[in-house]
Structures are given as C-alpha cells and as structure tokens.
C-alpha cells in the first residue's frame, strides 16, 4: 500500500466522524454510558474486594511447639512452613516477646508481681496467608510436622472472609459480564444502524472498483476512534468523581476510612483504563468490521 493511500484512509476515517455527526454522537454517547456504568461498578467492586483482602491479610495462624524443642528444630519448622505456597509472611515470636505483649495488652502495672515468664513455653510462629480459603490445608500440614504442639486458628473468620470473597467474585463477574454484554449489544446496534444508512456509499465505492480493504478501512478507523472517544470520556468523569468521593469520605468519615482500606484512583485505573480503552476500541473495531462486511457483497 502506498503511504499516501494509508494516510488518505486514515484521514477519511477522521473525516467520517464529522461527516456523520449525529451517528458519531449517538455512538459515543452509547459507548460512554455503557463504559461509565462498567467503570463505576468496577470501582465499587474492586474496593469491596480490597477491603475483604485487607481483612484476610490480618487473619493469621499461630503455631506452638513441644516444650523440649530445640532452637534448631524451630528454625527447621519455620523453613518448612515458609516454603508453602499458602504462606505470605511468617513471624517468629519468642516466649519473652509474647509475655511482653501480653503484659502491655492485659496486665499493665499488675505485671510487677511476676518474677518468671508464665508464658515460657509459648514461643510461636505467626503465619499470614495469601488466601484465607487455604487455611485448612495449611493447618493440616503444620499439625503433621513433628515438634508442633498446637496450631491455633480462627476458622469462623476464615470461612466468613472466604465466602465474602467468593460472593464478591461471582457478583463482579456477573455484573461486569452483563454490563459488557449489554454494551456490546447496544454499541454494535448503533454502529450497524450508522453504517446501514451509508450502504449506498459502500456500494458506490464497490462499483468504482474499490477493494474490500479500501472500503472497510475508513469505517473501521472511524469505529475505533468513536470507541476511543467513547471510552475516554467516562474514564475522565470517573477519575474526577472517584477522586472527589475518596477525598470526601476520608475527610468526612475518618472513622470509616481508618477501618476500611479504599483503593487509590491510580490502583483502580491501572485495570480500568486499559480494559475500558480495549473494550471501547475493540467494540468499535469489530462492530464496524462485521457490519461493513454485510454490505461488501456488491
């Protein structure tokens, strides 16, 4: 292809947007509305997921050892546990540290009467998990290690968080899936109507001897540009709204924001931006590509 033909095709794609202002506006509005809804739901669900994940990260398993265990064996057990895929972090808490923490948390000045450490046999590992749903399998493994006396865990918390995480996962997939399906349907319908109106133009091009590529390329470029603009507008709106909402919640409801860990706008956009742009441009591409094909057999 000549360079001049390439630029001509590109330029025609740009010009088509202005030639068919109403169609372009309708398409941009449809794509924009769909992706706006998609973005809002994604931001909400991503935050829910993050809150649950943060809560999960706080759940830990505590491993106690036999009373006559050596330091070497404790190190070996630590090494064995830290190699497991379920483990995200492992902290060793010595008996003295455990006693200090206990005193600070519960006894305060009343601890002065104790001359010896009553928690002498309570050195332990605090184990944090990658995924709380894997708690049971890890506990079974740790319990089977010689030298381990007891494994303490919070089964109810793990189960609740695990269920909440699953539920959010299903709801996210469901809502986002439905929104995407509706978007694809609405957008491809708008593109179809826009291009059908111009079927005569396509047939003229074909009569004059234009190849399918030459006819299709400006429409596809037009579709992709409309998809890009249609995605960029809601992204800009969501960026602004999300930032304002985050500031508002942090300032007005400081108790809430200290309990719940909201995602920063950059975190949300690290996924939302590429996905929305890909959906917008992708729908513009495939919508126009497929619709033009219907009119090419002249």
């Amino acid at each position: 292809m000549r360079i001049s033909t390439f630029f001509y095709t590109l330029w025609q794609g740009f010009k088509n947007i202005f030639r068919n202002k109403l169609f372009s506006l309708a398409s941009i509005a449809t794509i924009g509305a769909c992706l706006f809804l998609f973005g809002i739901f994604y931001a909400i669900l991503a935050n829910f997921e993050n809150i649950v994940k943060t809560a999960e990260e706080g759940v830990c398993i505590v491993v106690f050892f036999d009373e006559d265990i050596t330091d070497k064996r404790i190190d070996e057990i630590g090494e064995m546990i830290s190699k497991r895929a379920e483990v995200s972090a492992l902290n060793f808490v010595s008996a003295d540290e455990a006693w200090e923490t206990f005193k600070e948390d519960y006894l305060g000045e009343y601890s002065e009467g104790f001359t010896e450490n009553p928690l002498a046999g309570s050195s332990n590992y605090e184990i944090y998990l990658n995924d709380v749903s894997m708690q049971a399998s890890l506990v079974t493994y740790i319990e089977s290690i010689p030298g381990v006396r007891e494994v303490k865990r919070s089964e109810l918390t793990a189960l609740t968080l695990s269920s909440a995480n699953k539920l959010i996962g299903y709801v996210s997939v469901g809502i986002i899936g439905i929104l995407l399906a509706v978007s694809v349907f609405l957008i491809s319908n708008t593109v179809t109507i826009g291009i059908s109106v111009r079927s005569e133009e396509i047939s003229i091009m074909k009569y004059v001897g234009a190849t399918d590529f030459f006819v299709r390329a400006p429409f596809v470029i037009e579709g992709m540009l409309i998809g890009l603009i249609g995605a960029a507008i809601p992204l800009a709106v969501i960026y602004f709204v999300y930032n304002r909402a985050l500031t508002f919640v942090t300032e007005q409801f400081s108790v809430l924001s200290s309990l719940l860990n909201f995602l920063s706008v950059d975190k949300v956009f690290s996924v939302l931006l590429p996905v929305s742009l890909a959906v917008g441009v992708g729908i513009g591409f495939f919508g126009s590509f497929i619709t033009v094909r219907k009119h090419l057999h002249v």
Binding site: Y8, I204, M205, Y207, V208, A210
Partner: protein, 244 residues
C-alpha cells in the same frame, strides 16, 4: 498464457470486449430475468439495450458488472470469465469498466473534485497524477469551474457529468450507462448523449440502457431489444422497436 487468457481466446475474437454465451439468470423459482441470451460486442461499439420494465436490462448490466452471477452460461468481459472470477479480483476487473447510473450515485458529502479523485485513489494513483488528471477530465465534461461544489448544489445534468467524469477518469475500456438520461430534461439529455458519443469516438465501448425512444432513434447506433428476458432484436444502426 493464463487460464483466463485461454478462456478468452477460446470464446472471444480479438476485437471483442463482451461475450454472453447462452446466459440465463433466474431469481428463485420465478420466471428467469434473462433466458438463454447470447451477445457479442466489439471494441469501440456504441450499443443501446432497450426494452420495457422487467425485460431484463438491469439484470444484464448487473451481470456485466459482476454484481450478479449467471445461473447458466458464461459472461466474458475483457480478460475475465465473470462466472469464475474470484471475489478478490472483482475490484481489479471493475476498474476496467466505467459505470454511470440514472440516479448519479455520487458521494454526497464530497466535492465534485473528491468524487472524481476517489476513482483514482482506489487504483492508488499518485497524488501528483490525481491533481493532473481530475481537472483535465472535469474540463472534458465541462465542469472545470465547479470542482469545489458538493453534488447537491448541481443540476441533474451537471451531476450526471460528474458521474461520467468519475467513470472515465481511469480510462476504462467499457462504459456502462444505466438510464443515464432517465432523470434529465430533453436538453440535458441531448448534451449527455453528445458527451457519450464523443467518449465513444475516442475509442471507449459504450453500452447504454435506456427507455428513451427519441434518443435511440436519433443516434442510429446498434440496438439490442429485450423482452421478458429474451433478445428479440439486434440491429446495426437500429431504431427503438415499439412493442405496442
């Protein structure tokens, strides 16, 4: 020698540009639109195709443009057997054929210049050549001063001239004109006919479908008459056969 060329040599004489070999075209189970039509058209001829509505004229034009494929028989145009041509080669074939329609079929949102230049762009003519060729052909059809105007600001006659300029700018061997004067008044019609005659005199084969009895009788060219899909007359220097 390519298979296409062998086919052409077998069925066409060297001076022939169009051959219809026992061509029939049926739509569904209805009576065929064309029935066992055989025609031979030579290079440089001016041929009128006449007949009532439903006689098969439009079907014939569509077959020559490879918009339709014959149900039976073969259509040969230039080096191409249009029954066997691959979809990807159709655009290249059509670039040898200029086509003009009754309703002009111009791109309404583009200027006169752009409408004509479009035909050059699709054959990837360099921009320099386009800038040279388009004004020249617009001057030939008498529209040199209106190159910036959009088609809807032109009269019917002028729009048809733009369509003719677009059809001719790539120097086609054949010009197909489907009722080119159908939407024009007698004065504009005669001017268009004069233009088509000039084009023919310069060596382009012109095939024109028309209802216009006066034009056919005045031009004294070859006339092929169709009735219900069958050729009922083929006269050199013919006249319009009035079926009533």
């Amino acid at each position: 020698m390519t298979p296409q060329m062998r086919n052409k040599r077998k069925y066409m004489e060297d001076d022939e540009v169009i051959v219809l070999d026992h061509v029939s075209k049926a739509y569904g189970t209805n009576q065929p639109a064309l029935c066992d039509v055989s025609l031979r058209i030579k290079k440089g001829e001016f041929v009128f195709i006449v007949g009532d509505s439903g006689s098969g004229k439009s079907t014939l034009i569509k077959l020559l443009l490879r918009e339709l494929v014959p149900t039976e028989g073969n259509v040969y145009v230039l080096d191409y057997n249009l029954k066997k041509i691959r979809h990807g080669r159709i655009p290249k074939f059509r670039r040898n054929i200029g086509v003009v329609f009754q309703d002009f079929r111009l791109l309404k949102d583009r200027s006169v210049y752009e409408n004509v230049a479009f035909a050059q762009r699709i054959i990837q003519m360099p921009g320099k050549e386009i800038r040279k060729n388009v004004p020249k052909i617009l001057s030939t059809v008498g529209l040199a001063g209106k190159y910036r105007v959009k088609p809807n600001r032109l009269s019917g006659g002028e729009q048809q001239r733009v369509a003719i300029a677009r059809a001719l700018v790539n120097k086609p061997c054949i010009l197909l004109a489907d009722e080119p004067t159908g939407n024009l008044d007698p004065k504009n019609s005669m001017e268009i006919m004069k233009l088509l005659e000039e084009i023919n005199e310069n060596g382009t084969t012109v095939i024109m479908v028309t209802h216009n009895k006066d034009i056919v009788n005045a031009m004294q060219k070859r006339v092929i008459t169709l009735k219900k899909g069958v050729v009922i007359g083929d006269q050199e220097r013919g006249v319009y056969i009035d079926e009533d």
